[in-house]
Every structure is written in structure tokens, then in C-alpha cells.
Symmetry: none
Subunit: 204 residues, 4 copies
DNA sequence: AATGAATGAGTCTTCATTCAT
DNA sequence: AATGAATGAAGACTCATTCAT
């Protein structure tokens, strides 16, 4: 029970920070606010995190850990690269839809400038792109994709995805992002795949 | 000459701020640093800008003003939507290549969170997307484009573009972004246009 | 055994505190460090001492108790004031040599400024000076000493002694302080100048 | 005039710090208190000193600069080592008498433990001892002094001097230290015991 | 218009101390 | 008696902004 409580506090701090960082940004959020919002004393934050910056890193880590796992799981359930790609984008939007706070940080803080932030932010992008690249590489082998520069394509696709989510976040998450799944998927499929992918995909 | 000098100072402050904001981020840049880098006294900044935030806005404005104008000019020189689209992306990359500092701010600070910044950042994205949307709308009418959700497509295309530039900036601008013009254009054309656009385009 | 263990803890805390206070100073030593170094929990310190400051007092007390007793014992074994004086200084240096940690606190913290510390520090000096004064008073009676202001002389002698030890401590206790016993004793007994300096001085 | 004012502020801060550090000790004095006492804003301290510790160093430096110069000057006016020695001690006490605040810091903070403090404190002691050593070395050559270990003797003499001043400071500077000039000089010149103590002692 | 010294509100972080277990 | 997680008051330091010159 003691352990549960400890975990609770760490989790509560991360959750509070995630919300506040997402709402107001890292720099405009004070540790005092985080503490209050988490229902702990100011000093307690420093029992779990060595600095405000480390807390931000933890928030990212938490976000990545949870999302990447689900994304990978979802992708692996599909058999063809085409289905994998669609699943990836679908799940990506769903995850955002269900975790608006995480989404906000992921996007709004992704490009801050402190060294540590940059590092983590890069790692986060990398993780996403890695999954996309895997799928695209497979697609290249099966003939799904055109002759493409895989890393560049992955990056562009990731950018398109981010942009869709960013619009939604900028809009206060007032509509349903997942409604844009089809647009995003089509953009990806047409943009990356051979014109005859439909048949190829079906053939598989 | 006195007036010229005054203009000089404003410009120098904006330039210094642009470089520093891009390098270290808005929050990690002090007004003192900007003043020193611009070769003016600390107080002088406040003669030209009412606050640090206003200075950031001015930097964006400056960036936008210059770039948008060139983008619009370039687009107008082309006749078909397809050529316009290609020109847009080509110019976009060229502008970044030639103004790495602006690129850095444009990308790395675009998503900070102070309200005012957010506003400006949104305006900046809006300006880009507006141009893209115009071209896409025209492409829809001429039959270049598939049945698409124009705003969504514009946003995704903008995201892809940003992602390409961001990779480059994150890499320290060590390679030539414009080398990726073809990748980006193809991604856009295939992703957005009809499979038979090549011929259609030629037919126009 | 339980009681023994308790005693153990008190002793261990005092020992750890002595070492740390001596090494890094009172203010730069945290109770957490003391606890860890003593192998007890943070809260345990407060079972034995009501505050950090009280712990410092205890450390001094401990130091004084041990040293004063030995000093008094040693002095009493000697018969003439001269021998007593020499014994006092000899023992003083030996005690330091054998307890460098105590020496460090004794000297480096002796003049901190919290009220309580000042009080204890004064008491510590007092104890030393008292012994010296006793010997000097006796020496005055036996005709050993010149016509002197005993308290002032005791204080000066104590200062000379401290200075010798402080040099040694400042040097990292890298040499043998007791090697300076003769210098210190002679300084005390003869003074710096020749017995016949008067004439010599006059001759100049 | 502007320059005068600047100097004024720096001086006022040093003076305020000197008083407070002396009264309550370095650690128990807050920068806010120093600022208030100096009649400047909290941030102003950091225009002149990069940290609280640097301010302490400056206080020492100031103290040393002023005192050492006077000490050296006074010593040089005398011709014989004996007179020099007496002058040194006389002046030393006079300087303290006239600058009780400096005296307090000099003594009470001399043995704090932060690295920087230790460094400065050592330098301060060194400066004093250097002068004493010079005089003693000369005295050795002219035959004034016995065969002595000059550094050790200088250190002991310095310790005796400090102890006299410390007693006075500990007493709240309530009496006139310079009244002890004769005691200190005699201690230095003749030592504590009679010139003929050897025989006397043997006689016992 | 320009300067740059001065301001002081605001923040992160530390750490002695407490208390539920 | 012992623990160690939690507390929260306190303090050093920063920096955007002002204003007398």
C-alpha cells in the first residue's frame, strides 16, 4: 500500500505537469502550480524528479512509453504493409483523441529549445518515425510503395500526421480528430504507394 | 541619415533577436543578450518594441512578410495548379535554405505557448496554408486534384513540408534541403492529385 | 543489547557529524548526509537530538569531555608548573594528532556565528584557557613566570597553540603536529627572543 | 558624479555586508538583508558581485587591502626589528580597535568552510604571517631572536594576536584592545616566563 | 533617440523537521 | 525506537522593464 501511494504521487505529479505543460507551456508553468495541482507540497516534486526539466522528460517518457507500445502492438496485428500503414495512422489519431493532454504536450512542447527538451523531443519523433519507416520499408519490398526515399517519406508522413493533430489541438480539441482518419490514410496511400497498390494490396 | 540609422537599429534588433531566438529559444534568450548582439543599449529595445514578446511578434512578422511575398510572387508566375504547387514547395525550401535563422525560429519557436506567441504562430501557419489552399482549390476545379478535403490536405502538406525542414534544422542545416524538393513534390502530387494528373497537367 | 545498540546509534551519529562538520563545515552538511553516514534514517537523528544545532553542541561536548579530562589528568601528574605547562602543550598536540576529525571541528567551526554555536565555542575555549590559567597562576606563585596578566597570557598561549594546529589542519594534516611540540613549548617558556635581547636590542 | 555614485553603491553594499556578516555570520545573513541595509534593491547586489560568496570575498579583500598597507607602512618606518615587531603588534591592535566591523568578520568568519572562504581566509592569514615572518627573519639575522623556526614562530605570534582580538570581539568590543598592546608585545619579545626561568625552574 | 544602472517581483530548489506506519 | 516520505518555509539569483541623465 505504501508503494501504491508512492506510485500515486509520482503519477499524480506527472499527470498534473502534463496537463499544465500542455495548457500553458513549460516555461509558463511554475513548479508551485504543478505541486498544487497534484495535491502535494512544493518540495515533494523534488523527491521524484531532480529538476523541473527532468519532470518534463518524464512526462515525455511516460507519453512515449504508453503510445509506442500500443502503436507497435496494433501494427503487428496487421499482415499487409498497407493495412499496417492504415492501422498506424488510425491508432495514432485515436490515441490523441483519447489523451488530449498528452497530445498537447507532445505537440506544443515538441520544439522548445532547452537542450534536454530537444533531446527528448528528438527521441520522441524518432520513435514515431522508426515505426513508420519499418512499415514503409516492408512496403517497398512487397511492391506497395513507389520508389521512395524511405526516411524522407516517413518524415513527411509524420509531419502530415502531426499537422492534423496540431490543428485539432489548436482548435481546443473541439471536434473529433479520428474523423480525419480517412483523409490522412488516403494522403499517405496515394502519396507513397504505387498507383496500382489497390490491386497489389488485394492480391496479397 | 538619422532616420536611416534609426531604421538600422530596429532592423539590427530584429536580426539579433531572430538569430538568438532561433539558436536558444525565446525563453532562454535575454533582452540583454539581444541588445548586446545588436550593439545597442538594453533600454533601446524598449524604444522600438514595447516588450520582449512584441519583439518576437515583430520577428515573425518580418519573416512572414518577406517569405509570403516571395511565395505569392512565385506562385503567380506559374500557370497550371500543378506548376504552382511545385513552385510553392520549391520556393519554400529555397527560402529556408537561404535563411536558416528564420527557419530556426519559424520551426523551433512556432509552438511555444504564451498566448501572444501562439496567436502569431497560428497566423504564420495560416498564411502558409492559405496559399496552399488557394492552389489546391484551383487544382480541384481544374480536375488536378482528387476529391479532397482542401483544408485538411493543405494542412497535411504543410506538415510534410515543415517536417522536412525541421529534420534539416535539427541536423544543423548541414545538408542542402533543396535536394529534397523532388521527394516533397512527388509526395504532394501523388498524395493529392489524381493518378492521371501527369497527363492532365500536360494537357492544360 | 537493545540499550547498547541505542547508545551505538547516538555515538555513531555524533561521530558521523563530527567528521562531516569538520570536513565541510556545519552549514554545508545536511542532516540527511549525517544520517546516511551514520547508517540511520533521517528521522532517527531527531530521536537523539532535538535539532541540528543541538547535535553540533553534542559534538563539541563530546570533544571537550574527552580532551579536557585527559588534559587535566596529564597536568596533574606533573609537579612543577613548568612541567605542567610543557605537558599541557604536548598533550594538546597529541590529542589533535590522534583525533584529526575533532581537531577540524574544534578549529574550523569554532567561530561560526549562530548564537548557540558561539556559546558552545566560548565554553570550549574557556575550558582550555581555564587549565592554562591554573598552571600560569601557579607559575606566578612559584616565581616561574614574569609579572604577567594571567588571563591575557593564557589567551595568547591558547591562540598560539590553536594557530599551530590550524596550520596543520589547513595543510590536510599531512605532517606530524607533535613535531612542533618543542617549538610551541619554547615559545611558551622562553618567548621568541633571546633571554638577553634587552642588551642586544640596546646595542643596536 | 555618476561614477561616484556607482562607487558609493558598491561601497555601501560592502559596508553593509561587512557589518552583517560580522554580526550574524555569513550563513545567517540573507542577501535581502544586505540589500536593505545598504539601501539598494535585491538585484543590485548582483550588478556588483556575481554571488553572495563573491561579496564575502570582496569584503575580505577590502579589509586586507586597507590593513596590510598600513601595517607595511608602519613597519617600514621603524629601524630595528624589535621596534618593527612592536609597531606591528601595536598597529594591529589599533586597526582592530578602529574597525570593529572588519575585525568581527576577520575573526568570526575566518574559519568557515566553503572552499572560497577557506581560500580567502588563508590568503588573509598568509598576508599577516608574511609581514611577521619578514620581521622575524630580520630579527634572526641581527641576533634579536633565538634560534627559531620562523614560520612556526610567526604563526604562533599571529595566533596570540588573533586570540587577543577574538576575546575582545567576543566581549562585544566593550573594552579597549589597545590597552593590551604591552601584554602582547612583551609576550612576543620576552615570552611568558622570566628570562632566567631555566635556573629558577631547575631550582625547583 | 539613446543609455545602462537600478529595480523588485517571481522562481526554482534545498533541507531541517515532522509524523504515520 | 526506527523509518523515510512528505512538508513548506526560506533564500539565492534572474531578468524584463523603467527612468534619470
Amino acid at each position: 500500500m505504501a508503494r501504491k501511494r508512492v506510485g500515486n504521487k509520482r503519477v499524480r505529479i506527472i499527470a498534473a505537469a502534463a496537463k499544465l505543460f500542455g495548457d500553458k507551456g513549460y516555461h509558463d508553468t511554475t513548479t508551485a502550480e504543478i505541486a498544487e495541482s497534484a495535491g502535494v507540497a512544493a518540495g515533494t516534486i523534488y523527491i521524484y524528479f531532480s529538476s523541473k526539466e527532468e519532470l518534463l522528460v518524464a512526462v515525455f517518457e511516460e507519453f512515449l512509453g504508453r503510445h509506442m507500445e500500443r502503436l507497435r502492438d496494433g501494427v503487428q496485428k496487421e499482415k499487409t504493409p498497407k493495412d499496417k500503414l492504415i492501422r498506424l495512422l488510425t491508432l495514432g489519431l485515436e490515441l490523441m483523441q483519447n489523451n488530449p493532454d498528452s497530445a498537447r504536450i507532445f505537440l506544443s512542447q515538441l520544439r522548445q529549445s532547452t537542450k534536454m527538451i530537444t533531446t527528448v523531443s528528438k527521441r520522441s519523433s524518432r520513435a514515431y518515425k522508426d515505426i513508420i519507416e519499418e512499415v514503409l520499408t516492408e512496403g517497398t519490398h512487397t511492391g506497395l510503395c513507389r520508389e521512395i526515399n524511405v526516411p524522407a517519406a516517413a518524415s513527411m508522413l509524420f509531419g502530415a500526421y502531426q499537422s492534423v493533430v496540431l490543428d485539432w489541438v489548436a482548435d481546443g480539441c473541439s471536434y473529433i480528430v479520428t474523423d480525419l482518419t480517412r483523409e490522412l490514410s488516403e494522403f499517405a496511400l496515394y502519396g507513397i504507394c504505387r498507383a496500382d497498390h489497390e490491386e497489389e494490396g488485394a492480391a496479397q
